[in-house]
């Protein structure tokens, strides 16, 4: 059933269906539950920050949205379309509308920076060489990396690789951007640069972002919504200022960085 066919079901008729919706998603690895009947809605143009301890399942959540992992129960909808029952072709068409920035950047190590950015355009569009080159230059300029075009990924620093990875995620003009710990391991200045980049991308290009991060300051800075993942569920999901004031003991402990409390 497509939600768009049933206007009465919509909660916010002016906004259309949420861009991503997870309904009762359950996932186990080797019998160990990682996500337990998790629900989450991400509306268009939001910057949804997902916080949680290491190993809470944040990266797993992003892999589910990309259709790389399948949930054992529940459904994942992208633009109202259920990815679990979709054909390979539909999944790939959805993926083209998403851009993922891996924590490890995951650039193709045998290709130059320029070829890394050109690859999705060459493989998935019918654009001409000149136009591909123009888009590549434009996206590299957007992240301030125009000088790095002929270099190989292992000739760049971690922060440069991260910016190239963001540029690569942008070449197909995605509607949804996924960031897995985009600032972890970067110096504070570069972290701010990346944060501002994420904000300007969603503001200017009207894309939606889902950002996984531990860094409280950048989370509160970039988020329009913050969700807390704990023991396989989203236990709190709200606007940043209300999230900060939350009385949920897990959220309080996480924000204050205390050692005693429900997280251990």
């Amino acid at each position: 059933m497509n939600e768009r066919d049933h206007p009465a079901v919509r909660q916010e008729p002016w906004a259309g269906p949420p861009i991503v919706e997870l309904r009762g998603v359950h996932l186990e690895f080797e019998g160990k539950p990682i996500l337990r009947h998790l629900n989450l809605r991400v509306e268009r143009k939001q910057r949804m920050v997902i916080m949680g301890q290491s190993g809470a399942g944040k990266s797993t959540l992003l892999r589910l949205i990309l259709g790389i992992l399948q949930p054992s129960a529940g459904s994942i909808l992208f633009q109202g379309r259920n990815l679990n029952h979709a054909s390979r072709r539909e999944v790939n068409e959805s993926r083209i509308k998403m851009g993922m920035v891996y924590q490890s950047s995951a650039l193709i190590s045998s290709l130059t920076v320029r070829d890394n950015l050109a690859l999705p355009l060459e493989e998935l569009t019918h654009k001409r060489r000149a136009e591909i080159d123009r888009i590549v230059e434009e996206k590299l300029a957007l992240v301030g990396m125009e000088e790095t075009g002929p270099l190989l990924p292992n000739e760049l620093s971690g922060g440069m690789r991260k910016r190239v990875a963001i540029a690569r995620a942008l070449v197909l003009e995605p509607e949804l951007l996924l960031f897995d710990e985009p600032t972890t391991g970067l110096d504070p200045v570069l972290s701010s640069v990346i944060d501002e980049l994420i904000i300007s991308l969603t503001d200017k290009a009207h894309t939606t972002s889902i950002i996984v991060t531990h860094e409280l300051s950048s989370a509160f800075h970039i988020a329009t919504r913050i969700a807390m993942l704990f023991q396989g569920r989203i236990i709190e999901e709200d606007r940043p200022e209300r999230f900060r004031a939350s009385h949920n003991p897990v959220v309080e402990q996480f924000i204050e960085g205390r050692t005693e409390g429900p997280i251990h």
Binding site: I68, M100, A106
Partner: protein
């Protein structure tokens, strides 16, 4: 499954299942890309792999086969000369290589030289999330990475097998001319006399089969790497060992099948 079956049985079954799944999935992913209005993969991807796997293997295959042909002629020739039947040597080398040793030796050499490289490359890409990133972009890593590689070994193993046969015959001819007084022309005519089409066809079919086995095993082992750099090392060793073992096993089964059908 592990509780019911001993590991020695469970592991090969899992690998065969995984390989069949990989082959089917690669074909489906490639067809899917074609239905979306693209070419399966850039020709340069295939030719790059073909150059590496095929042309790059010619010196190794030729050199080893030459010396094997030489040795085979030498060893059999001295025995047969006792009975004055050294004229059988050219036929022996010709048949031995075209239906058995050519494909088998080529398979073993390619498994070591190319299979190892495929596993190491794909394994490193898997360990560094590059393969997953390709999937996340919708590029289809099986189509982009596996299809051109598997196709290259599949199509080039028969060609290398021919190279192996020719090199072995050259080695045999050299020995026959120097030691047993068989001229090059006489050698050639004796080979042609003894060789029948069935031997050649069997050799070619075997080569395709071995190419498929090596391509699938090496890519499968690469894509299923776990545990970083040491995982890549383990997978590469295991890929070469499995590919050589499976090639020899397939060769034996193929020969048994041939004997049951024709003799």
């Amino acid at each position: 499954m592990n509780d019911l079956l001993p590991q020695a049985v469970a592991e090969p079954i899992r690998m065969i299942g995984g390989m069949v799944y990989l082959a089917v999935d690669t074909v489906r992913e490639t067809l899917d890309h074609v239905f979306r209005g693209h070419i399966p993969f850039r020709p340069s991807l295939f030719f790059g792999q073909a150059d590496r796997a095929g042309v790059g293997s010619v010196p190794l295959v030729a050199l080893i086969s030459f010396f094997m042909g030489l040795t085979m002629a030498l060893l059999t020739g001295y025995q047969l000369r006792k009975f004055g039947t050294q004229n059988l040597v050219p036929g022996l080398v010709g048949i031995g290589f075209s239906r058995e040793l050519g494909p088998l030796m080529t398979g073993i050499m390619v498994a070591a030289r190319i299979g190892a490289a495929y596993t190491a490359e794909l394994g490193t890409m898997t360990a560094s999330e590059e393969v997953e990133a390709m999937e996340a972009m919708g590029i289809g890593p099986l189509r982009f990475l596996v299809a051109p590689r598997a196709l290259a070994v599949f199509l080039l193993l028969p060609c290398l097998s021919v190279v192996s046969n020719l090199a072995a015959l050259a080695g045999g001819a050299l020995v026959c001319q120097k030691q047993f007084g068989i001229s090059y022309l006489y050698f050639a005519s004796l080979v042609m006399e003894n060789l029948i089409a069935r031997d050649i066809i069997a050799g070619v079919l075997k080569s395709f089969l071995f190419g498929l086995i090596i391509g699938l095993i090496s890519c499968y082992k690469g894509l299923t790497v776990r545990g970083g750099a040491s995982g890549v090392g383990t997978a590469t060793t295991s890929s070469v060992v499995s590919a050589i073992a499976v090639v020899i096993a397939a060769d034996t089964l193929f020969n048994i099948g041939m004997v049951m059908i024709y003799e």
